[in-house]
């Protein structure tokens, strides 16, 4: 096993020298100021519209806004359900005098990461993982890599480990940059702001019997852990595609199409129940933490974790069996 360490080192350094990580940091560093500004506009706008800076009033108004929209007979049932859950959840915050959106760098980070889990983080992971093997084919270096006195499974395993470590770096860097950049606008506090977890959605209702208050940093820690899991899954799938498809462009295309199709699916599959076995529909694990309504009724954390794990395991099995057996031309 000791021969694995230099292999991981090679893979890590190659990815670094390929400047892929810089690309990702660049993407994050460009996007976050934009979102920070957008968030600032939204809160200023809301404040102006409502004419108050008291969060309780503006939150109450948002709740009543949902209530009004729900009263319209033209609202789609699915939306009504979502709003009903949202009304109950936000009202619970209000009832317990907890501001769900206390403006701060930490809150922004929490919200941004939560929204990033569905598409943004997977895309970043894809940038790193989708050509890990195919680029070796494209460059022809696969021949040098596989003619060493090192078993093929070790070569592939080292790539998996490098992917795992880079996914950790990406998720951490995303959170860190988010905090640093948005903190300049919203302030660097908010680590100990109270946050509520434990909402359980049942149909259009919410069960609050297990709701507890925790410090926001704990929420972020758990959130990042869940995002990490999704990121690793996407990495596994992307690596499998990279093993099977030898063209980097085709591999990226396949991954991109899959991920985007997944986002679209998550928004429209509520009536197609077996769609819940797609990994793309299960990527948003954070919703189980914040108590959002799942895309398909009956989905919960254990289910989603199972689906993701089965997909990841299957992709690992496929890529190892293909990679170790395939003839290289």
């Amino acid at each position: 096993m000791n021969s694995l360490l230099p292999l991981v080192r090679n893979e890590m350094l190659k990815l670094w020298k390929k400047k892929r990580f810089f690309v990702i940091i660049g993407i994050i560093a460009v996007l976050i100021p934009i979102f920070t500004y957008a968030q600032l506009r939204v809160s200023l706008d809301r404040q102006e519209q409502i004419g108050t800076s008291d969060w309780r009033v503006s939150l109450q108004q948002r709740i009543n806004d949902y209530a009004n929209r729900m009263s319209s007979p033209r609202v789609i049932e699915e939306w009504r359900k979502w709003m009903s859950v949202e009304v109950q959840r936000l009202q619970y915050y209000l009832d317990h005098d907890v501001n769900p959106e206390e403006p701060s760098g930490v809150t922004f980070t929490r919200e941004f990461v939560k929204n990033a889990v569905g598409l943004f983080v997977p895309l970043l992971v894809m940038v790193i993982a989708s050509d890990l093997v195919s680029s070796e084919h494209a460059q022809g270096t696969i021949k040098l890599l596989l003619t060493r006195p090192v078993s093929r499974w070790k070569v592939l395993l080292s790539k998996y480990l490098a992917m795992l470590l880079y996914v950790s770096l990406i998720v951490t860097a995303l959170a860190a940059l988010c905090y640093i950049i948005s903190g300049a606008v919203f302030g660097y506090g908010g680590w100990h702001a109270p946050t509520l977890i434990g909402f359980q959605v049942a149909g259009a209702d919410i069960d609050t019997s297990n709701v507890n208050m925790i410090a926001q940093w704990r929420f972020i820690l758990m959130e990042l852990g869940l995002v990490f899991y999704t990121g690793v899954l996407v990495g596994c799938i992307a690596l499998m595609v990279s093993v099977i498809v030898r063209s980097t462009a085709a591999g990226m295309g396949i991954m991109l199409a899959t991920l985007i199709a997944g986002t679209i699916l998550s928004n429209m599959v509520s009536s197609w129940e077996s769609a819940k076995y797609f990994f793309m529909v299960n990527m948003d694990l954070v919703r189980y933490l914040s108590g959002d309504i799942p895309p398909i009724e009956g989905m919960n954390l254990s289910f989603s974790l199972w689906v993701l794990t089965v997909w990841a395991a299957a992709s690992i099995i496929v890529s190892f069996s293909v990679f170790t057996r395939r003839d290289v031309y």
């Binding site: 108004q61 209530a67 977890i197």
Partner: protein, 263 residues
């Protein structure tokens, strides 16, 4: 060679640390979600805070049903929005409107809202004037047959709740001016016998009596605003006022507010 000497240890240590941190977060998250602790949270009631009204902004709070919400107004301002604009035109006055009205609200729902919704309680304390319309949804549902026997019963309950509501509002904010918008009759064409008309007049009369018991409360009549030619001021649903209709209500309210202002 030069870079990789320090790059690799740096990369290895930082990514490994990040990985361990995230894995611990994952385990923590999964265990928290799968094995949640029993909630130990208590409802927090907003304390009365007289400072809330001292922010120098003239605050209008709109409470009640779809009439206050402004349903039917193409500009979606409703009479509350019109009032806000009119007050804004006064010299040196910064004004804010908080509209908490919800379509279809009954007296019972409004009462619960005032008692329980912290955001509403806070805004009541902030308010300089409260615009209120409620009760019509207790009495009848548009499109359904109105049975006088049933209505009489629900009217008694609704009236007592109106009193509770006014009581609650004045307790939270003693100085606030409360303007109750009376009911009008939008359905004259399907009410040839005038049964509903009688009912609405009765309601208005009763509310006026409640209002008289509180110096802060003013009953603003609208029954005459939507007279025989009332459909001109009604929106497409023949039930809610349109923009013009709301303007007429707002004008009435402004008469009261301007009088207050000049005092």
């Amino acid at each position: 060679m030069k870079t990789s000497r320090w790059l690799w240890p740096l990369l290895a240590i930082s990514s490994l640390a990040a990985c361990l941190l995230l894995i611990s977060g994952l385990i923590y998250g999964i265990s928290t979600i799968l094995y949640p602790a029993e909630s130990n949270l208590q409802r927090v009631n907003v304390e009365r805070d007289d400072q809330l009204n001292e922010d120098g902004v003239w605050t209008i709070l709109a409470l009640g049903d779809s009439i206050t919400k402004g349903t039917g107004d193409a500009t979606s301002k409703g009479y509350a929005g019109q009032v806000r604009d009119a007050v804004d035109a006064w010299d040196d006055t910064e004004v804010r409107l908080i509209n908490m009205a919800v379509n279809g609200y009954t007296t019972e729902q409004l009462h619960t809202q005032i008692e329980q919704q912290n955001g509403v309680i806070v805004s009541i304390q902030q308010a300089d004037a409260i615009l209120l319309s409620i009760g019509v949804n207790d009495l009848y549902t548009p499109g359904e047959e109105v049975l006088p026997e049933d209505v009489a019963d629900s009217m008694t309950q609704a009236l007592s709740r109106i009193e509770d509501i006014v009581q609650a509002l004045t307790e939270l904010n003693t100085d606030v001016r409360i303007l109750y918008t009376g009911l009008y009759h939008p359905l004259r064409e399907i009410d040839p016998d005038g049964e509903l008309a009688a009912l609405l007049r009765e309601w208005n009369y009763q509310v006026m009596q409640v209002a008289d018991a509180y110096p802060q409360v003013v009953f603003v009549p609208t029954y005459d605003l939507f007279g025989d030619n009332g459909t001109r001021y009604l929106s497409g649903d023949h039930y809610h006022p349109n923009e013009e209709g709301y303007k007429r209500i707002a004008a009435r309210i402004m008469q009261v507010l301007e009088e207050d202002w000049h005092e």
